[in-house]
């Protein structure tokens, strides 16, 4: 029975590689560089976990039709992550609250994590890349 219990974040095996993305999707290309790195790691059989921290949660906002093209393509890359086996996505609960985005629809694989969960992620993984 215990083996059928769905994994909670505290119980999941810590990721080998964690990419922390803290930039909004506009104003710089850092958010895009983090996703490019995630896709590259997946291509090298090292699919990373992604942690959207601080302003990084703004990358998960639904794409507007009229939005700048780089923002639209960012959304497309986000949507494609499961195809690359990137299925561990963590989202900063405090940042969602700060921006009033508690009710925003999140990617299917996303898990909202509080500060304790974030600390566990950062301490548990083998390698961190911070964007």
């Amino acid at each position: 029975m215990a083996s059928d219990t769905p994994k909670a974040s505290g119980q999941a095996e810590p990721p080998r590689l964690l990419l922390v993305t803290r930039s909004p999707p506009y104003g710089s290309s850092l958010a895009r560089s983090a996703l490019d790195t995630a896709l590259a790691a997946a291509a090298f059989d090292m699919a990373p976990a992604l942690l959207f921290l601080d302003h990084g949660v703004l990358q998960l906002l639904p794409q507007q039709e009229g939005a700048a093209s780089e923002t639209r393509s960012h959304g497309k890359v986000l949507d494609s992550l499961p195809l690359y086996d990137i299925d561990r996505i963590y989202v900063d609960a405090a940042a969602l609250l700060h921006f009033g985005l508690q009710d925003m629809p999140l990617p299917a694989a996303a898990e909202v994590v509080d500060s304790t969960g974030i600390r566990a992620l950062l301490e548990g993984c083998d390698h961190i890349l911070s964007f």
């Binding site: 290309s29 560089s33 490019d36 790195t37 590259a40 890349l129």
Partner: protein
């Protein structure tokens, strides 16, 4: 300790901090395998940049450290070519003048960054906020 660095910050205080860390690590006998420059970090390898009077020539200082300590300096290829940093091959391929990448730097794919993650014991990121 076997270190590697990821530099995301353009020339400025954060990239100078990365250079300072790299020097200190080497001076203390640590191994520094590779510095990977990504996003605006690639601007640290711009070979045609002319440092303003009184400021240090960052690409030359990176190159000096690299040749003395055997550190590999890699610019992310997609970040580099969109910003006009081309090695001889890319310059020819795109029919541009070149090479514009500073001596001592090479251009490579993100796969090298992933490889760096697994190979080194500790990889430090130097971003815009340092």
């Amino acid at each position: 300790m076997n270190y590697a660095l990821l530099v995301l910050a353009p020339p400025g205080s954060a990239s100078r901090a990365a250079l300072g860390f790299a020097r200190a690590a080497c001076a203390r006998g640590h191994q520094l395998e590779r510095v990977f420059f990504l996003d605006r970090g690639v601007e640290n390898g711009m070979g045609t940049a002319v440092a303003p009077q009184g400021e240090r020539d960052l690409p030359a200082q990176w190159a000096q450290l690299a040749s003395e300590q055997g550190v590999e300096l890699v610019l992310c290829i997609s970040s580099a070519i969109r910003r006009g940093l081309l090695d001889a091959t890319e310059a020819q391929r795109h029919e541009k003048v070149g090479p514009t990448v500073a001596p001592g730097f090479t251009i490579g794919g993100l796969g090298l960054l992933v490889e760096t993650c697994t190979d080194c014991e500790r990889l430090l990121t130097f971003g815009e906020g340092c």
